[in-house]
């Protein structure tokens, strides 16, 4: 907990700034541009989908979001393209890259919210903040309660050991800083790279082999698909789970971003693990 204290403090600061932004316009926002896929999903889940007037090219879930005009990239946004949608609120993923864009938007008189949710508990808080800002406070509280009830019980004892491999050359795995690590823990699997505090990290194939996971999880379409191409290569076959073909294909729209559908993701992963 102490480790997260500085982050939580930062988050609280962001929240205060956001509250001001949300109330400063007087009443809920009606024209919202979302600059992160996870925020777009959350807005639609809150019932604020009809208030979303702009999204990034990467915001593809829910399918209804695709009908919203795209304003381009979210991490390096085109302030002009965003402003052209005449929003009264722009929600950005908080990072050093987006801070300049947020300042420029504020200078144009457009309210901004800077949010960062990398972990599931962040999604619960973000849901409440966005709920208040968009006039869907009850829906926000309801999403937060659902996520809290997923996260509050003690973590179940792990039944299996799992490694998330997101790329093969160089090998990149998911670490303890990612929501995928939390999803795995809740589904009864221990991420063998939980000790890496970053969301993801480059490791050697040898390291994966020595951690000896029971399953290799990959985020890709089609659950019944054969293992990824790299699984046939001899250097990857030093990993027991690869040799035994124990792959979990996780659908990207459910596992690609921290989402209010986390309970559904946990149930699906749990089912896959028990097969």
């Amino acid at each position: 907990m102490r480790r997260w204290a500085p982050l939580l403090a930062l988050f609280a600061l962001t929240c205060r700034a956001s509250d001001r932004a949300a109330t400063g316009g007087g009443g809920p926002a009606h024209r919202i541009v979302s600059l992160a896929p996870s925020i777009t999903e959350l807005l639609f889940a809150l019932g604020a989908g009809s208030q979303v007037v702009g999204r990034t090219v990467y915001c593809l879930y829910p399918p209804a979001a695709r009908a919203v005009p795209s304003v381009g990239d979210g991490l390096n946004p085109s302030v002009e393209a965003v402003a052209a949608r005449h929003p009264d609120l722009v929600v950005l993923y908080r990072s050093p890259q987006t801070e300049t864009a947020a300042r420029q938007l504020e200078a144009l008189g457009i309210h901004t919210m800077m949010l960062r949710h990398d972990r599931l508990e962040d999604v619960a808080r973000t849901a409440q903040l966005l709920g208040q800002a968009t006039g869907h406070a009850a829906a926000g509280d309801s999403i937060a309660r659902t996520l809290d009830s997923l996260l509050s019980p003690p973590v179940p004892a792990p039944q299996a050991r799992i490694a998330f491999v997101v790329w093969d050359a160089p090998p990149i795995v998911i670490g303890g800083g990612s929501f995928l690590d939390e999803l795995a823990a809740r589904a009864g699997a221990a991420n063998v790279f939980h000790d890496l505090t970053a969301p993801s990290a480059t490791v050697a194939i040898e390291t994966i082999a020595s951690r000896d996971p029971d399953w290799i999880a990959v985020v890709r379409d089609s659950a019944g698909a054969p293992p990824p191409g790299w699984a046939a290569r001899s250097e990857w076959r030093t990993i027991r789970a690869v040799r035994e073909g124990r792959f979990l294909n996780l659908p990207p729209d459910l596992f690609g971003q921290p989402s209010p559908r986390a309970p559904e993701a946990v149930r699906l992963l749990h089912r896959m693990l028990s097969q």
Binding site: A169, I172, D195, T202, A204, T207, E235, T238
Partner: protein, 313 residues
């Protein structure tokens, strides 16, 4: 004596690469472990071949363009390889060999363009035109690559950039065999050009008077060194500093005669890359550093020491 030192260093580096690693394998079981046969051994051998190729390519190119700053990637090859790799990913061309093949094709394309530029307006592979052409083609390829990454929606493109930063994590017996079959041909071509390269370092006119066929030498050395670099970038991405620093180390230790300098650069390049890769795998384990960062961290202090010795002399 110096050769003995170099060979001993090579053995020590290879031994370290084989024995050290994030997985703890007892020394007695090492020879029976797939970690040794499928991961560490091919990786060490690939490091030797790629490091050696970059060292030799760097030494020959520095003499060819008579510029101590020349590096195998200066002539636009890394830009071309990156463009090839990113195009393959953007076009959703799958398969384990697609990325290296596309990178190789991209490097060859850049090589062809620069070579053609070098022959423009009757200039006979003028080193200045080659350098400028290389920088221009590299920058152009870089711009197109960035445009593709910006416009395409494939999230894998970010990872293609990581691949381009270089590393030996893709080492396997296939890549080792590929390099072992391919590398000797340009190496022999370069060794055969050792004498005319010695003459070329004196200047174009003196070289011609002493009987060197300047244009033929330039053409052969440029193509052989570029083909070596293209193969290296195809299997490991862009690994910097080896091709820049190793030739200078070689010259300081073995003098400037290419019959000695080229083999010495091959060995020294291999040693530097294998050592750097062992550090990259173990220093921050379980994480792994991009090997290009380590080659710079190890190579630059060595380089500075050498510079001090030179200036002291």
């Amino acid at each position: 004596m110096r050769w003995l030192g170099l060979v001993l260093a090579l053995l020590a580096a290879t031994l370290a690469a084989i024995v050290l690693g994030p997985a703890s394998v007892p020394a007695g079981e090492l020879l029976h472990s797939p970690i040794f046969w499928e991961l560490r051994l091919p990786r060490a051998l690939l490091g030797l071949l790629v490091g050696g190729s970059l060292g030799v390519a760097g030494a020959s190119l520095q003499s060819l363009v008579r510029n101590p700053l020349a590096d195998p990637f200066l002539l636009g090859l890394s830009g071309g390889a990156g463009l090839g790799a990113v195009s393959a990913i953007a076009l959703h061309l799958g398969g384990a060999w697609t990325l290296p093949l596309a990178a190789f094709a991209g490097a060859l394309l850049a090589l062809g363009l620069v070579f053609r530029l070098g022959l423009v307006a009757g200039s006979v592979l003028d080193p200045r035109v080659l350098l400028l052409g290389g920088v221009a083609v590299g920058a152009f390829c870089g711009a197109v690559t960035t445009a593709i990454v910006t416009l395409a929606e494939a999230s894998e493109l970010r990872n293609a950039f990581l691949w381009l930063w270089g590393g030996l994590s893709g080492a396997s017996w296939q890549t080792v065999t590929l390099m072992a079959v391919y590398v000797p041909v340009p190496l022999v071509v370069l060794l055969a050009a050792a004498r005319p390269l010695d003459l070329l370092t004196l200047g174009e006119e003196p070289a011609r008077h002493l009987g060197a066929d300047v244009l033929a030498t330039r053409r052969r050395v440029y193509l052989a060194a570029s083909l070596l670099t293209a193969a290296a970038v195809a299997v490991t991405g862009v690994i910097g500093f080896v091709g820049l620093i190793v030739p200078h180390l070689g010259r300081a230790l073995f003098g400037g005669r290419h019959r000695v300098l080229l083999p010495a650069s091959f060995l020294a390049g291999g040693i530097l890359l294998v050592l750097a890769d062992t550090l990259a795998r173990t220093a921050v384990a379980p994480r792994e550093l991009p090997v290009g960062i380590v080659t710079a961290l190890v190579g630059v202090p060595l380089f500075v020491l050498l510079l001090r010795r030179w200036t002291a002399d």
